[in-house]
Structure formats: C-alpha cells, structure tokens
C-alpha cells in the first residue's frame, strides 16, 4: 500500500505542542454535557414525585392553555396544556423517561451486537473479518429510518419494539470502533503473551481485550444513545414510534404540529428538551473522547 507517513516524528513532535482542540474545551464540554444529562436523568427518575399532574389526565375544558409566561398562562400549568388538556410540564418530565430508556436500552443492545461483531472481526481477521465488514457495509447501505418505520409498522408500535429495532440497527459504529481497537490490541505484546500461556480465546477477550475497549465503548455508547434518542423522536413524530398516549417528546411535537400557528409552544418546549438532551449527550461523548485522548494526538 502507499506510504502513509507524511511527516517525520521530529516534525510531529515539534508541532504536537499546538493542540488540535484546546484542553479546556474538552473539560467545559464534559462538564456541561454531564450536567445536562444528569438533569434529564433526575427529571426522569423524579417525574412521579415532582409532576404536578397526571401525564395522561385529559381535561377538555383546559385545552391549549399557554405557559406561565404568557398573559393567559397560570402557575397551575407552568408549561401550559396540549390539545387534550394534559399538563405539558408533567408530560415533559415523563417524556424524559421514554427518551432515556430508549437511549440507554438501544445503546446496550447495539453495544452488545456491535462489540461482538467487532471483536470477532478484529481478533480472528481473515474470512471472518471479511464477512463482518460485508455485514457492516450492508447495514450502512440500509435506509435506517425506513427500515425502522417498516419494522414498527409490521410488529406494532411499542416502547420495546422501538428499542429493539433501533438496537438491531444502530450497532455499526460499535462494530467499527471495536474492530479497529481489537486489531490494534491484538498485535500488542500482552495479548501474545497470554496466547503463549495457553489462555483460551474467550479468556483473552475477556481479560486482555475488553478492558482496553471500555474507554472507547463508553464514548461510542454516549454518541449512539444520542442518535437513538433523536431517531425515536423522529419515528414517533412520523407516527410510527412510541404509541400515543405515551409522552414521547417526538410524539408531542407531532401532536402539536397541527396547532403550530397559534400554539407554537407545543412544539418548541419538547423540541428544546430534545435538543438539550441530545446536545448534552453529544458533549458528554465528545468530552470523554477529548480527555482520554493522549496529549498531542487527536
């Protein structure tokens, strides 16, 4: 293959002092990101305790009440009510549960699938690697949203179906990252030493390879979590995600779409929540990546 060296170690040394991304940015992002995610987790966990109302309780008399900062708003419904008179703040808090459950659940499922494929491909190489790369490329060729929509339509919309579908579709980055790391680790001396000592493949994977992957896995997991949250919202928005009357933020936006003219808060509020959660998760992932990358590399 063509040479990939573009500069000598000395030259790189000289320049590595100029960092690609300032350290402070990694830290600020990490702090901001984890704060946001923490707030959402708290929202989700404490929803039953701090919600002023029942998320499913309809009150057709109190429909379309605007948030408290409008002139006709009131503190009874801090963030207003939707087209069925349900309290928006409550639904927002419960919506956090849905987003986080989907996000974490998908990350776990796709993480397991992706890591298995990636480690197998990286460790065994050869034909197994070729097959794995083929499968990964095939997965990349698939129109994810369409397949997810079709699957939910075929198997019925529910939290579990959505989570499993996304989990079965979003494992590609896990696979690619773990494959790359495994290939690198495989050639390291401590793995060879373990092999010489007669350790079984499973043992080697468990003791030598996986621990070194955890770092990257965590980073990819946060990024996939963010993607899953957005996808679930998109699916629910299109009517083929989490079913009504569940307070999925995407669904709330979809339901508020009809009233966009006079009641824009119906879509801005859950949208902001969604945006912030995804932003926070991305920042968390990026921040983790920045602080765990050795100085001078990117």
């Amino acid at each position: 293959m063509t040479e990939t060296v573009t500069s000598t170690p000395k030259a790189q040394d000289r320049v590595s002092r100029r960092m690609r991304r300032p350290r402070w940015m990694g830290h600020a992002g990490l702090i901001l990101g984890s704060t946001i995610v923490l707030v959402c987790v708290l929202m989700a966990l404490l929803a039953p305790l701090i919600s002023p109302h029942d998320p499913y309780a309809q009150d057709l008399v109190s429909r379309f009440i605007p948030p408290v900062w409008h002139e006709s708003g009131s503190w009874e419904h801090v963030l207003g009510t939707d087209h069925l008179g349900r309290d928006y703040l409550t639904r927002l808090l419960y919506g956090a549960q849905i987003s986080l459950v989907i996000g974490i659940g998908t990350a776990i499922v796709s993480g397991i699938i992706g890591t298995t494929i990636g480690v197998a491909a990286g460790y065994f190489g050869g034909k197994i690697d070729s097959v794995a790369m083929f499968i990964i490329t095939a997965r990349l060729a698939m129109p994810v949203i369409l397949i997810a929509l079709a699957t939910v339509a075929l198997f019925g919309s529910s939290l579990t179906v959505v989570m499993l579908t996304l989990g079965l579709l979003l494992w590609d980055r896990f696979a690619l990252v773990t494959r790359a790391s495994t290939i690198q680790l495989r050639s390291q001396e401590f793995v060879t030493a373990a092999e010489i000592q007669g350790a079984s493949i499973l043992q080697i994977v468990r003791h030598e390879i996986l621990p070194n992957l955890l770092n990257n896995l965590l980073i990819v997991a946060t990024l996939e979590m963010a993607q899953a949250i957005v996808l679930e919202a998109a699916l629910s928005f299109l009517g083929l995600g989490v079913p009504a009357p569940l307070p999925s933020w995407g669904l709330m936006i979809s339901e508020g779409k009809a009233s966009i003219l006079f009641e824009p808060w119906l879509i801005t509020i859950p949208g902001v929540a969604l945006f912030l959660l995804v932003l926070g998760t991305n920042l968390l992932g990026d921040g983790l990546r920045d602080i765990t990358t050795p100085q001078g590399r990117n």
């Binding site: 573009t6 500069s7 083929f134 698939m142 397949i147 075929l154 991305n282």
Partner: protein, 305 residues
C-alpha cells in the same frame, strides 16, 4: 485499477442483494401479506385465493428469488395502493428526492468546506471555535424540529417562504436548509482535521520555505490533499441524506421517494416499500462505489495499482 473497480462493483451488487433479502425476510416474518392485501373487508377465502395467486405459500427463499428475477427484468411489482407498476411510481419520486438532495449537498459543502478550511488554518481561533460550535449544535438539532422552527420563522412569523410543495425555487429553500445542515458538521470536521493534518506535513513546509503564497499553499497544496477523504464522506452523507429524506419530505409535503415510502408503510403497500428499500440501498452502494473509484482516479499513488 480495472481489477479494483470490477471487484468493487461485484461487492456492490452483492451488498444490495443482501440488504433487499433482509428486508424481504423482515416483511415475510412480520405477518400475512395475503391478509394485508385482502384488507379488512376480505374473507378467509379471499386471503387463500390471494395466497395462491401471489405464491405466498412458497418458502421465503423461493419467493425472494422470484422477486429478484422480476427486478432484473425491470418489474418491481405492482403497488397495492395505486394498482400501478411500482417502477413507474418511484421514478418521478426519486427524481424529486435526488434533486433536493443534490442541492442540499452542494449547499452543505459550500458552507462547511470553507468553514473547515478556515478552522483548520487557524485552530483554536475565534473562527475555529465558532465553526466547532455550529457543528456541535447542528449535530444535536433534530431535523424535524428544525424544520418546524424554520416554518414558524419564515412561513408564519415572517411569511417570506412557502412551507409545502416544490413549485418555485422558493419552495426549495427551507427543505434544502434542513436537509443540508445535517451533513455540515461531519463535512466541516473532516475538512478541518484534514487541513490541520495537511498543514503539518513536510511538503507544506517545503512549499512555504520556497516562498509560495499563502493562498496557493492553503488551496492548491493543503486542501487538495485534505479533500480526498471528503469525497468518500460526501457520498456517504448524500446516501444518508436520501434515506433520511423521509422526515423532511413529510414535513414539507414534498412528493419525493421518502414520503412515498412513509405513506406506503402506513398503507401496508409492501411491494412499494420493498422496492423503495432496494432503491435507497442501491443508491447508497452506487454512490460509495463511485466515490471509491473517483478517489482512486484522483490519487496518483493509487493509479499505480
């Protein structure tokens, strides 16, 4: 080079077949297509009839191969909803989607590449931080929400742009914005890191030592090298864009392939869905194939192989 291209083409075909097989299997396992075709008003006897006619009793592989055989002859089946051949249906739709997609990609590159070059040239400067900020925000923004916000802003509050359809150039603005911004972060970051890497190389040092102008160093020497990986990224992004057009097309009521897919899924028009999935994946595979070949053609080091 020819060898390489042929191998890649073969892989491309294999990939598309594999994806379509998976989708076929998915639909197969999900339920009874005969019942879906017969509809709620149909009786069990109707369903049985349909099963015989369409051959739904045959094993999965047989049915799939039959479908592939048809596809290779240009027959993508008939839409259950429209009663027309699917191939006619999706051609015009795909043209629309591709149109919007291309404009969106060009827009994304026109914004992201210069930003990336500037960010790479002056890392950690104000421009770099702004670019990274835009990238971070862009990646977090859900496209459907962004679309709705833009509609609130430009169609309702300041009614200067239309929010649905595709009749005039004005109709293109908002969909292109939404579709395009999604790819910007990735393109910008790749350009930025590519530029940073390129500007640290020995050959850039040589160019500077020989007194070449900064403009030539930046664009002719550095960007040219940084741009190679951009080709692959852009084509993949374009593929994702097309597949993700569902959301944009449904919000802006654009008569494209994505919207057709969504509607067909809702109507259980399975032949159409199957054909659309095939087309989208074929598109992606072809695009990445094209990008690979282009890459090989543009890099003199690859030509030797």
């Amino acid at each position: 080079m020819l060898n390489y291209a042929l191998r890649r083409i073969f892989m491309a075909c294999l990939l598309t077949l594999f994806v379509s097989f998976l989708t076929y299997g998915l639909i197969f396992t999900a339920g009874d297509p005969a019942a879906a075709i017969a509809g709620s008003a149909g009786t069990a006897a109707d369903a049985e009839n349909i099963r015989e006619i369409y051959g739904f009793d045959d094993p999965l592989v047989i049915q799939y191969l039959r479908w592939v055989g048809n596809v290779l002859q240009g027959d993508l089946g008939n839409s259950l909803y429209f009663g027309q051949p699917v191939s006619e249906l999706i051609m015009s739709r795909f043209a629309v989607t591709a149109q919007v997609g291309i404009v969106a990609l060009v827009f994304a590159m026109l914004v992201a590449v210069p930003l990336g070059v500037a960010a790479g040239r002056w890392p950690n400067s104000l421009i770099d931080r702004t670019a990274l900020f835009i990238a971070v925000v862009g990646q977090a923004m859900p496209s459907f929400w962004f679309a709705l916000l833009l509609i609130i802003l430009f169609s309702i509050t300041f009614p200067i742009l239309p929010s649905s359809g595709l009749d005039t150039w004005k109709h293109f603005v908002l969909p292109v914005l939404v579709l395009g911004y999604f790819s910007m972060p990735a393109i910008m970051r790749l350009t930025r890191s590519g530029m940073i890497s390129a500007l640290e190389t020995d050959y850039i040092r040589t160019a500077r030592a020989m007194g070449l102008s900064e403009r030539r160093v930046l664009f002719d020497y550095a960007l040219r090298n940084a741009a190679l990986p951009l080709i692959s990224l852009s084509s993949a992004q374009f593929g994702f864009m097309l597949a993700g057009s569902v959301v944009v097309e449904s919000v802006f009521a654009i008569p494209g392939a994505g919207r057709l897919a969504w509607e067909s899924i809702g109507r259980a028009d399975l032949p159409t869905v199957q054909a659309l999935v095939l087309c989208f994946s074929l598109f992606y595979v072809l695009l990445t194939l094209l990008a690979d070949i282009l890459n090989a053609a543009l890099d003199p080091r690859m030509r030797m192989k």
